[in-house]
């Protein structure tokens, strides 16, 4: 592993057996795993380039157990890495050699389905899709749908502020979570939000969402559920250039239309997908756009012609409108299979996750083509065109020495370009360990210090998930110091009253 992680605490490593025994008094039976061969399954998450066996694995079942585990670790200065389903693409759940891995998968029950207040209370280990399935008989669903939704847990979604393909219209996790019960590193249990809206004080729920397991451990989640849209239809649009496809997206939005989903693929991604699933994609286009309209039938009928006209005006050479549910799903089949499809044409691929202002797409794609030549690695692109979230897939072969490092370096250059054009390092996969060292590209030291001070309010000894998100861990006492300079009346020229 080339990644620098916090130095393991030798004193903690030496007490491994004792710590496991202590944890057994909190979580009896099979809830504590310490045999290396049994811990192997937890050594990595969705970012499989990095692996590390944890100190010990604990799988609590109750909030009280979580509280006792955290209090125990806090009192003994033992690090803790929380883990949901382990699908993080940024290494958010990567274990540490000296840290207890706190696995939340046994928190797998739905506690309350409340159709009147349109919310569900679930334990954090329930899968994202599990929530939608629990309410589907009443035609409800939970809107954020990350592509790992079969496996990823709602607790992990809170930690990562997960997105999906419908974010522009329906929002991210942060906009669909109403409340959490969580445990602080001290073992204190607090509740933020609930079935009501907004917060009585500071928006701690807002900062907790997307905090990547560094602030606390969520033990219960209340989410908003929505009535399923009555219908959905999709348009499959092919363009000779990504500029035209981009302009088409801009004009759809300019016409006041917010589609449920709007996905773009570039030529390499189109070809890989078509070879894999034969979705019927045109192979003579540079950019493919899937625009999905959802809502009441008459609304879709009203808008579909408008979208078609905008596409034609922008030079689309393919325009197919789904005439049945089967056809709509067929349009999506290629897009949904894009990652495995790319996996077929290359031994390995590295999935990136920047967000850019949409209008910068042609510039970023051109930049990527140039980098692709320079690094000698191919790249395929899928793009959540509605919200500007770009997923370049860098193709490489891990068996060729140095190629992974080259792919990572290529990826870093792409993310730097995203920031340069006004975008960000990560749209939905999180910083984790993967983008940690790039944080200074986007933030000044002052910006990062203020984020770390938020961490200090929750976990002053950096025991929760250290080594993630922040490139450099600064002691809270040091961060708290302030240098006050003798007061000079500011801008004395300006009149005051």
């Amino acid at each position: 592993m080339s990644l620098a992680m916090p130095q393991p605490d030798a004193a903690v490593l030496a007490k491994r057996a004792e710590i496991a025994a202590d944890l057994r008094t909190i979580v009896p039976g099979e809830g504590v795993v310490e045999a290396p061969n049994e811990m192997r399954v937890f050594e990595t998450d969705g970012l499989t380039a990095y692996r590390q066996l944890p100190l010990v694995v604990v799988l609590p079942e109750t909030t009280q157990q979580v509280s006792r585990i955290l209090r125990y670790c806090n009192e003994r200065n033992i690090r803790v890495v929380p883990r949901g389903s382990g699908t993080s693409l940024s290494g958010g759940a990567l274990p540490l050699a000296d840290a207890v891995l706190l696995v939340m998968s046994r928190f797998n029950r739905i506690l309350d389905i409340d159709y009147v207040n349109r919310c569900v209370i679930a334990q954090p280990g329930v899968t994202n899709l599990g929530i939608s399935q629990a309410v589907e008989e009443e035609r409800f669903y939970y809107a954020p749908d990350p592509s790992s939704q079969i496996a990823c847990s709602i607790g992990g979604n809170v930690a990562e502020n997960s997105g999906g393909v419908h974010c522009l219209k329906y929002g991210l996790t942060a906009n669909n979570v109403l409340g959490v019960e969580m445990v602080l590193i001290t073992g204190e249990v607090i509740r933020l939000g609930g079935k009501h809206l907004d917060s009585e004080g500071y928006d701690l729920l807002g900062v907790m969402t997307g905090s990547e397991g560094l602030l606390g451990v969520v033990t219960e989640v209340t989410v908003r559920i929505l009535q399923r849209p009555e219908a959905a239809r999709a348009l499959l649009l092919g363009f000779p250039s990504s500029e035209q496809a981009g302009q088409c997206v801009a004009e759809i939005i300019g016409a006041g239309i917010i589609p449920g989903g709007m996905e773009m693929m570039d030529e390499p991604a189109i070809h890989a997908a078509e070879d894999f699933v034969q979705a019927g994609y045109p192979l003579d286009v540079e950019a493919l756009l899937i625009v999905e309209l959802d809502g009441p039938g008459p609304e879709i009928e009203h808008l579909i012609g408008q979208v078609e006209a905008i596409a034609t005006d922008n030079g689309s050479t393919t325009c197919r409108i789904s005439q049945s549910e089967e056809e709509r799903l067929a349009f999506w089949a290629g897009r949904k299979a894009a990652f495995p499809a790319v996996g077929r044409i290359s031994p390995d691929y590295y999935c990136m996750d920047g967000t850019i202002p949409r209008k910068e797409l042609p510039r970023v794609l051109a930049g990527m083509r140039e980098m692709s030549e320079r690094y000698g690695l191919r790249v395929a692109n899928v793009f959540h065109a509605g919200d500007g979230n770009l997923h370049p897939l860098i193709l490489y072969d891990a068996n060729i020495p140095g190629e992974l490092a080259k792919a990572e370096s290529f990826g870093n250059d792409i993310l730097r370009l995203c920031v340069e054009v006004g975008g960000v390092l990560t749209g939905e996969h999180g910083v984790g360990v993967e983008k940690r060292d790039l944080m200074p590209v986007m933030f000044s030291q002052v910006d990062l210090d203020q984020q770390m001070r938020v961490k200090c309010a929750f976990d002053p000894n950096h025991l929760l998930n250290p080594g993630k998100v922040f490139p450099q861990l600064r002691r809270c006492a040091e961060l708290g110091r302030m240098h006050i300079h003798a007061g000079k009346m500011p801008f004395p020229d300006i009149p005051r009253f």
């Binding site: 907004d198 917060s199 919200d387 990560t426 005051r496």
Partner: protein, 398 residues
């Protein structure tokens, strides 16, 4: 008394650094339209941000707008309107309720108060639309968080921490918001004569349907304003707003009508913008008095039960927005803070904020909902990390 009127971020930094050196707490204000909310200011000095003004970026097709913190909200809304766009969270105007002129307030104040309107139910509050901020902390340091794109999970979302912090964590200097297309049209379905319990049931039915209702409010008997009287007449009124493209609104109105027709007399209100503005701004209680007004957030299904119980103990007028999830209460006499909060806790939990009361009442009553000890301690630690010397709006939040 010194009031700083910065015109650039560096001026804000200099003001806060001066205040730190002098140990002189500052009141943070824009146009002062919401000064009456919270504990009365306990400072001698102030920063007035109204000269730190201007829209710095607006790209309609990218759905993004940035402005300096002191930019008047009215100016932003006007520009958006010209481009058939809007701030979808529909920030309310506290002016009329607080005996201030209508139409004032800045974009910084919109986030600092985490404002929202009747569309909160469907579209969220200011917290859900802010994409990025620049802030001067109580340490006198300028930091930024977030960006200008919708999908962003890079680092902690400090923009959300600023939402509803009422100037106690930092001085906002610029903000970036997501903007959205304005609906082509709106229509409101009005059901007359429902009791508060029946209205709660009707609103739940409507919100749980596929009619995509964007706002749901209930005005009980006697709750009105001159404008509402003219537009809607008297008697209890349950209002359901539909927005979007013409054919869609027509179709959804029929759907809703079929769903609710057995429950009461139904009418269609075609031009309902003014109706929802009155509800948004709590106009029924904008009576030029300082009788205590509460803003209560709770589970929609429980609101009318809480109100019924309250009326057995104290004189209170009430109306409901957000399907009942937002209760506006006007007390006849005393604020009854403990009683109201106990009832909210009893009926499923939530929070009650005393948004209007005389300065002396606000000085002696917890305006914001008190938190349980562990949460209160965490909030205090967070405040300390942003403003260690307590120089920004000290005491305002309790």
């Amino acid at each position: 008394m010194t009031t700083f009127t910065p015109t650039a971020d560096e001026d804000v930094v200099a003001s806060v650094q001066w205040a730190l050196a002098e140990n002189a707490p500052l009141e943070i204000m824009g146009e002062g339209s919401k000064r009456g909310i919270g504990r009365p200011a306990q400072t001698e000095h102030a920063i007035n941000l109204s000269a730190l003004s201007g829209i710095t970026l607006y790209e309609p097709e990218e759905l993004v707008l940035s402005a300096r913190a002191g930019t008047p909200l009215a100016k932003i809304e006007e520009l958006l309107k010209r481009n058939r766009q809007q701030l979808a969270f529909e920030p309310m105007d506290y002016g009329p309720l607080l005996e201030q002129p209508a139409g004032r307030g800045t974009i910084g104040g919109v986030l600092a108060g985490n404002l929202a309107g009747p569309r909160r139910l469907k579209a969220g509050a200011a917290r859900d639309h802010v994409l990025g901020v620049s802030v001067v902390s109580g340490r006198g340091e300028l930091f930024k968080s977030g960006g200008r794109v919708v999908k962003n999970v890079t680092g902690y979302d400090l923009s959300k921490v600023m939402a509803g912090s009422w100037g106690t964590l930092g001085v906002l200097t610029s903000l970036t918001f997501k903007v959205l297309p304005a609906p082509e049209m709106e229509a409101t379905l009005l059901v007359r004569g429902l009791s508060e319990g029946d209205a709660a049931a009707a609103m739940a039915l409507a919100m749980g349907s596929s009619a995509e209702v964007s706002s749901a409010a209930h005005l009980p008997e006697g709750i009105s304003t001159p404008t509402l009287n003219v537009l809607l007449g008297s008697g209890p009124k349950t209002l359901l707003r539909l927005e979007g493209f013409g054919p869609s609104v027509a179709y959804r109105f029929d759907l809703l009508h079929r769903l609710l027709r057995d429950g009461g007399v139904i009418e269609r209100i075609d031009d309902s913008t003014a109706v929802w503005a009155e509800i948004r701004d709590c106009a029924p209680f904008a009576d030029n008095t300082d009788r205590p007004v509460w803003r209560v957030s709770m589970a929609p299904s429980e609101a009318y039960k809480m109100v019924a119980e309250l009326r057995m103990h104290a004189g209170a007028a009430a109306f409901y927005d957000w399907q009942g999830g937002l209760v506006w209460l006007r007390m006849e006499a005393e604020p009854e803070a403990e009683g109201i909060r106990a009832l909210v806790a009893h009926f499923g939990g939530g929070h009650a904020t005393l948004v209007r009361a005389s300065p002396s009442v606000r000085a002696s009553t917890p305006v914001f909902q008190p938190q349980p000890p562990a949460l209160a301690a965490l909030s205090a630690r967070l405040k300390e990390q942003f403003d260690p010397n307590g120089i920004l709006n000290p005491g305002r939040m309790g």
